[in-house]
Symmetry: C2
Subunit: 116 residues, 2 copies
């Protein structure tokens, strides 16, 4: 995982605000360039790594793996390695991740309404 300076004001503020504000906590888990897209694409069922790569042609492999690992670490996504030939890895939403469905929809709706 990426190196984080735990003693920085930046990090201390982040931790503190996440405790105070549940909105910020939620955003710290689903925010960033690629996580919302990944969560959105996993809403309609499990997907293989190669499938995710296809639906997101602009993401680098490095970012794809990193974001999936973080989502897994935060408990939103389950990772299942299949020992077949060729071997592949399957990602699916956990219960926690599925519980985010309404939220993602609300975000999409607001975005669609106010996008210009």
């Amino acid at each position: 995982m990426k190196k984080v300076k735990e003693s920085s004001t930046n990090q201390l503020n982040k931790r503190s605000i996440e405790l105070q504000c549940p909105v910020t906590f939620t955003l710290s888990i689903i925010g960033g360039r690629w996580k919302p897209l990944l969560l959105w694409h996993l809403q309609d069922g499990k997907k293989r790594y190669s499938e995710l790569k296809k639906v997101l042609p602009q993401i680098s492999e490095k970012m794809l793996i990193q974001q999936l690992r973080e989502l897994e670490s935060d408990g939103l996504v389950n990772r299942m390695a299949k020992e077949v030939v060729p071997p592949y890895v399957e990602y699916s939403l956990s219960a926690k991740g599925k519980d985010m469905h309404q939220l993602l929809k609300a975000m999409a709706q607001w975005g669609i309404k106010y996008r210009e």
Copy 2:
């Protein structure tokens, strides 16, 4: 406003994804450390700059002003300068910003539920 390199892959990807994904578009407007908190605090009515500074003791003036300016620029917040003595500035949610209430609540609920 802050200098952004419009020709960077980073920026090109950002723009492209924001067009494709309404969730990412929404998050680009309300994301970051301080905007969710500002939006949250403005839910219950207009606030002066000095009031916002008080309820968010950890925010630097630079970040406070910058984030408010961005929220204003994106149309979520109205800024009203009062020419009294002492003069003060009042920030309030626009209709667009008020329309975000349910969304913020959903985010808060998810965060409260899964915070540990």
